[in-house]
């Protein structure tokens, strides 16, 4: 019933919990699902109400104490039955529908039991089943099952009163486990063991031991958001790039397409202050010969990922075609409103003084000008993809989403360039997946995730790469597909910093915010398509302000990107 891990419908379950709690600033430790995988609306509400009425961190500490016990699942199910009664009584006055929802849940319980297979029935804990059956039978007005005296006492003990506060509930939970299972919450060995705590931490976060490119290394936990958290382990910090690092970067990503002097000029301008220890590497992925085993392994992994992207692309070709059509239609509507309408003669509007004679001489009343139907597009778009390791579980989706955006813009004859960025061994690597003049967008399927992301430097570098003279004078938009979680192994540097600070957290977000602000000041419209964890939503808002849309599936892409483009066009044209 209550699961401690996230599954496919987790977002919906979390929304039910947040809604019942009246807050959205916490990550629920428990989610409830039916055996068929659908979120259990009632029990998720209960989980939210527990958050609302009781001190959940303290309860979670209690749950964690028996986490290693083989009866942990059984304890969970029983104690949640007790909590259900408690919060039901607390909330009923404020939410009268709860009574009906509870009755519905009781009916669902019995309907669900009929659908269970023999194996599922055998797998159930009889103690839990009996208590649940008794609870739901009494709620649903059915005949209650016959209980032994012990079971009756247990059922009574599980009616945690609505008058209890957190201390009272903790006492009741402790007393229940002590009286019926001889499990003592106050025992010394019941406290969470440091080793277990560390193991949990390792599961939650990927620790970086050495600074090399890792491809598809999961957390093992299958995060519901499909995002991977990266943390600095301390030892993995990178100080300044060496010649060996440059050789490695070239071996992995291909030769740099910017000439050496140009690269030095760019580095002198951009790799200063907080990025003083960084170098730039701009590539189109042209491979170089190498004997570096690590580099070759990474290249093989990248090729495998490309194959996966292409398979995903082929498998979803109908959806992709539809999305391209939908997005290009929407973008066409946006652009036709925002680009300058070419004037056409009309019978009212702005008087053309040079044509006024036609009225008296030729009786031609079309001596006015009005905005015509035709527009004059003057725009080019940069699409910047975060290719750091935090994106590794969504590589196929991201490559297809960026294909949809690029192909939609190309369909409207708007030049688009797609670049992926990641940082590694002190190098900010900007990989051009599709250049301005390429009409075929399938190059974006070369996308793969690996490395870190130094968002600020990537945005600044791309802002400077405006190398096609044919596009000069056009309005420029930059769309960033991001999870708004900048993080790099090369620390922040700069004057006044006696001890260098890690490039992560608030400092990294602030750096990205400043970079975006700088680019906007230079006349480039910058917006973000946020595709990440809710906990980073605030980062996205801080970095990109209101020019940020959140999408969760490719189906939402057309709406999200057209809204964002509309906003950016409006800001650019009206400012």
């Amino acid at each position: 019933m209550i699961k401690k891990q996230y599954t496919g419908s987790a977002r919906r379950a979390r929304n039910i919990i947040w809604n019942a709690a009246g807050r959205y600033d916490f990550d629920p430790p428990f989610l409830a699902f039916y055996p068929n995988g659908k979120p259990d609306r009632y029990f998720n509400m209960v989980a939210g109400l527990v958050q609302k009425w009781l001190d959940m961190p303290r309860l979670w500490d209690f749950f964690a104490r028996y986490g290693d016990d083989r009866r942990a699942d059984e304890f969970d199910d029983l104690l949640w039955l007790g909590l259900e009664n408690c919060v039901y009584e607390k909330e009923l006055g404020e939410r009268p529908i709860l009574e009906q929802l509870r009755r519905d849940r009781a009916a669902e319980f019995f309907a669900e039991q009929q659908n269970l297979s023999r194996q599922q029935m055998e797998y159930q804990s009889m103690t839990v089943y009996t208590q649940q059956e008794y609870r739901w039978a009494s709620v649903g007005g059915r005949r209650t099952p016959l209980l032994s005296p012990r079971e009756k006492r247990m059922a009574e003990a599980l009616r945690f009163s609505g008058a209890l506060d957190t201390d009272g509930v903790l006492d009741a939970m402790g007393a229940f486990l002590r009286d019926f299972f001889r499990w003592d919450a106050t025992r010394k060995n019941a406290a969470p063991k440091p080793a277990n705590a560390l193991a949990r931490l390792l599961l939650r976060h990927e620790h970086k031991r050495i600074d090399r490119l890792l491809v598809r290394v999961g957390t093992g936990e299958g995060d519901h958001e499909k995002a991977v958290q990266q943390r600095h382990a301390g030892l993995g910090r990178h100080v300044a790039p060496t010649a060996e690092d440059e050789a490695y970067v070239q071996a992995v990503f291909g030769r740099c397409t910017v000439s050496e002097p140009e690269r030095r000029i760019l580095e002198n301008e951009l790799c200063v202050g907080r990025d003083a220890n960084c170098r730039l590497w701009i590539t189109k992925g042209e491979p170089v010969e190498t004997a570096d085993r690590d580099a070759l392994e990474v290249r093989r992994s990248a090729a495998r990922q490309r194959a996966r992207n292409e398979a995903y692309f082929a498998e979803h070709s109908a959806m992709i075609r539809h999305s391209v059509r939908a997005l290009s239609t929407r973008l066409d509507a946006v652009f036709s409103s925002y680009f300058r309408h070419l004037p056409e003669p009309s019978r009212s509007g702005r008087l053309r003084s040079e044509a006024a004679y036609r009225l008296s001489v030729l009786h031609d009343t079309r001596i006015f000008l009005r905005d015509g139907e035709q527009t004059e597009p003057q725009l080019c778009v940069d699409l910047l993809l975060d290719a750091s390791q935090s994106r590794m579980n969504v590589q196929e989706t991201l490559s297809v989403e960026s294909y949809i955006i690029a192909a939609s813009l190309e369909a409207l004859r708007i030049p688009v360039r797609v670049c992926a960025f990641r940082s590694l061994r002190g190098y900010l690597v900007l990989e051009v997946l599709k250049d301005w003049r390429q009409r075929d967008c399938r190059g974006v399927l070369r996308y793969y995730a690996g490395g870190w992301n130094r968002d600020a430097l990537a945005v600044e570098t791309l802002g400077r790469l405006n190398d096609d003279p044919a596009l000069h004078g056009r309005q420029r938009l930059l769309l960033v597909l991001t999870d708004a979680s900048p993080n790099d192994s090369t620390p922040l540097s700069g004057e006044g910093l006696r001890l260098s600070r890690e490039y992560e957290g608030a400092a990294a977000v602030q750096a990205a915010q400043e970079a975006v602000r700088g680019l906007r000041a230079s006349g480039v419209g910058v917006g973000a398509v946020f595709h990440g964890n809710t906990s980073h939503l605030e980062n996205a808002q801080q970095i990109y302000g209101h020019a940020c849309v959140r999408i969760r599936t490719a189906a939402q892409l057309a709406q999200g990107v057209s809204d964002l483009t509309l906003l950016l066009m409006r800001e650019k044209i009206t400012s």
């Binding site: 919906r12 929304n15 039910i16 947040w18 809604n19 019942a20 009246g22 959205y24 609306r41 509400m45 404020e94 939410r95 009268p96 529908i97 009906q100 929802l101 409103s337 925002y338 309408h341 019978r347 009212s348 509007g349 702005r350 008087l351 009225l359 009343t365 001596i367 006015f368 905005d371 809710t534 939503l537 808002q541 209101h546 020019a547 940020c548 849309v549 959140r550 969760r552 599936t553 189906a555 939402q556 709406q559 809204d563 964002l564 906003l567 409006r570 800001e571 044209i573 009206t574 400012s575």
Partner: protein, 307 residues
Amino acid sequence: MNLIYSFLEAEGVDKSLLEGVRAFCERYPTEPENAPRVPAPEYYYYGNKTWELALAAILAGKNLLLAGPKATGKNVLCENLGALFGRPVWNVSFHINADASYLVGTDTFDGKQVTFRPGPVWLCAAKGGFGILDEVNMAKNEALAVLHAALDFRRSLDVPGYEKIDLRPETRFIATMNYGYAGTRELNEALTSRFAVLDMPVITEENLQKLISRRYPNINVRLRDQFAKLYGELERKAGSAEISDAALDLRGLLDAIALMEQGIASGDALEMCVVNKSFDAYERGLIRDVIAARIPTDLTRDVVFSA
């Protein structure tokens, strides 16, 4: 005085401001030919502080800019102000292609000669009306520059090639602008400085209860409270970007109650007027979950309206 005046008295809006309104109305009575343009609002705006700030600005001769997210009652307040002061209202909906001629007027040929066809801003200035500049931040700044002289101390409107007119003293402009998560741009400084800016608060649960009660006096009080709470929950969900603000539609909620009054079951009414405002299937699921946690789907008219 009119109904809305009595409503404000009952709500406890500052008496001296209401006296000011009375004096204004006596000094500038509604001309009979303009009477059809004076709004007769269906809904009243609730929120005493906002009312007092808006009244003070209008009485001081200032133009008002109502800024706030969706469903905060900006247009309701505009209409209410027009009705309270008894002024004819010209509503100008801004769009990106709105230009000076759209606002002030344009040349046209009347069969004999080129003449000036006045636009809503010109008419408002000449007839002493309230000009509602709806979604003012949708327009290009150069289109709005034509309003600068009308909105500041000069209070005049100069139409190139035609005459310059002075605004009548009772003329006011009330602009609205929306902002939000994926919202709209900010207004430029030159224009903003010509308005007193009123940041519109989101309607409180208590005021929403009053609003529902006033519109549907027979509604069951317990259910009314649940509808108000439901709206608050949707607002929190949209605020945390879990759903778009498509379903955060106060009009939609009131429309749903209107449908229930017509005999539609609560589930269907809310589905039509709230859930279906979102065109994303997943998002609709989230909205349904919020509704299911507050309102039963099978409520009939007799239950909803059993005061």
